[in-house]
């Protein structure tokens, strides 16, 4: 594979605190790679080390085979789109975009032509002679992108570029950013704490936690097969079930006793044997809810009886909190014909929650504190 941007054992320490700890991963040429994680996870530190504002205490960063550590920021083949845009307030939009070319001592005519091309790309031609405080947040964002791209960087670094914008504008700019990426074909390193943003725009995501990369993969891979409870809880929402393996049911499935709930079947995502402690992540939308008892189940399905404890109507879907045994499950139900065809379950109803055994995912690692990150803490009474 084309390893274009390489972080190799990169570490940054502040006193006893490791902002980034022995991080190693590769980004491919031309892809959008998102570094995703909560604030303080080290993603921005990594980005600033690539940009050259911080030097790592250990490790190397290579861009296209060339070690860039130790090179000052103005000599690195990367450019950054800053979270606060960091536009120069005393310069016009045109001069903002042309700043990098001017520093590179390019000719006046060449600068003008390149800037015009960029203004056209980000659709800001009629604002070229305004100052940054005369344009909107979304427009500032596009100036920041143009100002970075005009230098034709090998890698474009985006530090929470949409964080300051409202939801609708964020979604629209995300599409625009994707189009710009298609057009220029430059490698994007996109730092964000917003999982929907990361999922929407990136080819691959590196999920970071406490200075380390927890998992790297395509958005679907990260969502469907999270390696540990942190990734499962940070990306989307889920139910954590902890239990003990009772017996193997052929090659594919095992019977598991879930604490405070009962026996269920799980898919053998990895090698497990009777007696093993396991932790299962079960996404709310994989569960279905019904008011009548299901017909006899096959070995690939689970059905658990419970009582509806809470109903939260969210428009496109409804979220149910169902008490089963001594614990609660979050269930999400999409509805295309909500009130027309049937009476939906409501508070106090006796219901059956069903799911396919292979829709759960066995976590490799589990830490109880990650359950606190869920919208429904798996409280047991």
């Amino acid at each position: 594979m084309n390893e274009f941007l390489v972080f190799e054992g990169v570490t940054k320490r502040y006193g006893d605190f490791y902002a980034v700890r022995d991080v190693t991963f590769e980004v491919r040429q031309g892809e959008i790679f998102a570094l995703l994680g909560p604030s303080g996870c080290g993603k921005t530190t990594l980005l600033r080390m690539l940009a050259g504002f911080i030097e790592p205490d250990a490790g190397r960063i290579l861009v296209d085979g060339k070690d860039v550590t130790g090179i000052p920021p103005d000599k690195r083949p990367v450019n950054t789109v800053f979270q606060s845009y960091a536009l120069f307030p005393h310069l016009t939009i045109r001069d903002n975009i042309g700043f990098g070319l001017k520093m590179a001592r390019r000719g006046k005519a060449e600068i003008a032509a390149e800037v015009d091309r960029m203004l056209d790309l980000v659709d800001l031609v009629e604002h070229a002679d305004k100052k940054p405080d005369q344009i909107s947040g979304g427009q500032k964002q596009r100036v920041a992108i143009a100002r970075a791209l005009v230098n034709k960087p090998r890698v474009l670094l985006l530090d929470e570029p949409l964080a300051a914008l409202d939801l609708k504008l964020r979604q629209r700019l995300l599409v625009e950013l994707d189009e710009i990426h298609d057009e220029v074909g430059i490698t994007f390193l996109y730092v964000t704490h917003d999982q929907t943003e990361a999922m929407a725009i990136s080819d691959r995501i590196g999920v970071m936690n406490r200075g380390r990369v927890a998992q790297i993969g395509a958005p679907a891979e990260i969502y469907e097969s999270p390696v540990d409870s942190f990734v499962a809880a940070f990306i989307g929402d889920t139910n954590f079930l902890e239990g003990r393996v009772i017996e193997r049911l052929g090659d594919e499935y095992s019977l598991v006793a879930i604490e405070a709930m009962g026996e269920i079947r799980v898919y053998n995502d990895r090698e497990i044997s009777p007696g093993d402690e396991i932790h299962l992540s079960l996404r709310p939308e994989k569960l279905s809810i019904q008011t009548s008892a299901p017909a006899a189940t096959d070995e690939a399905r689970n059905a658990i009886e419970g009582t509806v404890e809470d109903v939260i109507y969210l428009g496109a879907l409804t979220r149910y909190w169902v008490r089963t045994g001594e614990r609660r499950l979050a269930v999400e139900r999409q509805h295309s014909r909500f009130l027309l065809d049937e009476k939906p379950p409501t508070w106090g109803d006796k219901v059956w929650v069903r799911w396919r055994a292979d829709d759960g995912y066995l976590l490799r690692d589990f830490a109880p504190e990650h359950a606190e990150m869920l919208s429904l803490p798996a409280e047991t009474e």
């Binding site: 050259g52 920021p73 450019n79 950054t80 800053f82 606060s84 960091a86 520093m103 230098n151």
Partner: protein
């Protein structure tokens, strides 16, 4: 509406009279033909003519000296005050708290104290007092005003623009020259103008650090008023200075004032 209190209006009028009546008398007296100004003896421009004649050469020399000192002191303190403000803003260590105290001190310390201490220092070091010693003395308090003006400007200075400039290929010096200084310019200029006006009319500190025969304008005026009974010429000069100061203050208010807020 008629019953509205009259006291605030009366107070305002009294304060204005108290502040500006003496100045008005001075300006009028500069056109008064009377030598002692105790009575009005008709309009004259004699004192102005005298001021611009060869007899008043030493006055113009003192003005030259004052300008020399004020320009030098404000330029140097613009540089030092700006760097002080930058460091104070950038680093929030305990050492910087002490630094801030030191920068703030000359503003609150009595001039007489600074004057005497600087005078004693120069004597102890055996330094010949000259225009330069006066300039250095003025720099010591001018720095503080520039630093405070620039600090105000730094309050809403987004430091990521410096990173952005570096990121876009500017060296550290280019980033300072093309981004930092232009953005801080209103504060630097406001501080510089403030320093200029403070320097040009400083009396107390200058008095203690000046050499013999090196009167600055305020000192010259003082000695004239005291020894040579040339009051009307001083009145004429003061009127001109007043006009000049108003012009400078008007300029500061008009062009640099927003930077001093923050």
């Amino acid at each position: 509406m008629k019953s509205r209190l009259r006291i605030p209006g009366v107070l305002t009028a009294l304060v204005l009279v108290f502040l500006y009546f003496p100045i008005l008398v001075l300006v009028l007296n500069s056109f008064n033909a009377s030598k002692y100004g105790s009575s009005w003896e008709g309009w004259t421009l004699r004192w102005y003519r005298l001021l611009f004649s060869g007899e008043s050469r030493d006055i113009w020399e003192s003005i030259q000296r004052s300008l020399h000192i004020a320009i030098g002191a404000s330029l140097v303190s613009m540089v030092l005050g700006t760097t002080a403000a930058w460091v104070l803003h950038r680093y929030r260590t305990r050492l910087q708290k002490v630094h801030f105290g030191l920068v703030y001190l000359p503003i609150v310390a009595p001039d007489i104290l600074m004057g005497i201490s600087l005078g004693i220092l120069l004597i102890t070091l055996g330094v010949d007092r000259s225009l330069e010693t006066i300039t250095v003395a003025h720099i010591t308090f001018c720095i503080s005003y520039v630093a405070l003006a620039v600090l105000g400007r730094l309050q809403d200075f987004d430091e990521s623009v410096v990173d952005a400039a570096r990121d876009l290929g500017a060296t550290w010096w280019q980033a300072v020259w093309r981004v930092v200084i232009p953005l801080l310019a209103p504060g630097i200029v406001a501080g510089g103008l403030l320093a200029f006006t403070l320097s040009i009319d400083d009396f107390v500190i200058t008095f203690f650090v000046k050499g013999v025969g090196l009167d600055t304008l305020p000192l010259k005026i003082y000695s004239m008023a005291r020894h040579s009974r040339q009051m009307p010429v001083i009145n004429a000069l003061s009127t001109l200075m007043l006009t000049f100061t108003f012009v400078v203050v008007w300029y500061v208010q008009r062009h640099a004032r927003p930077a001093l807020r923050g």
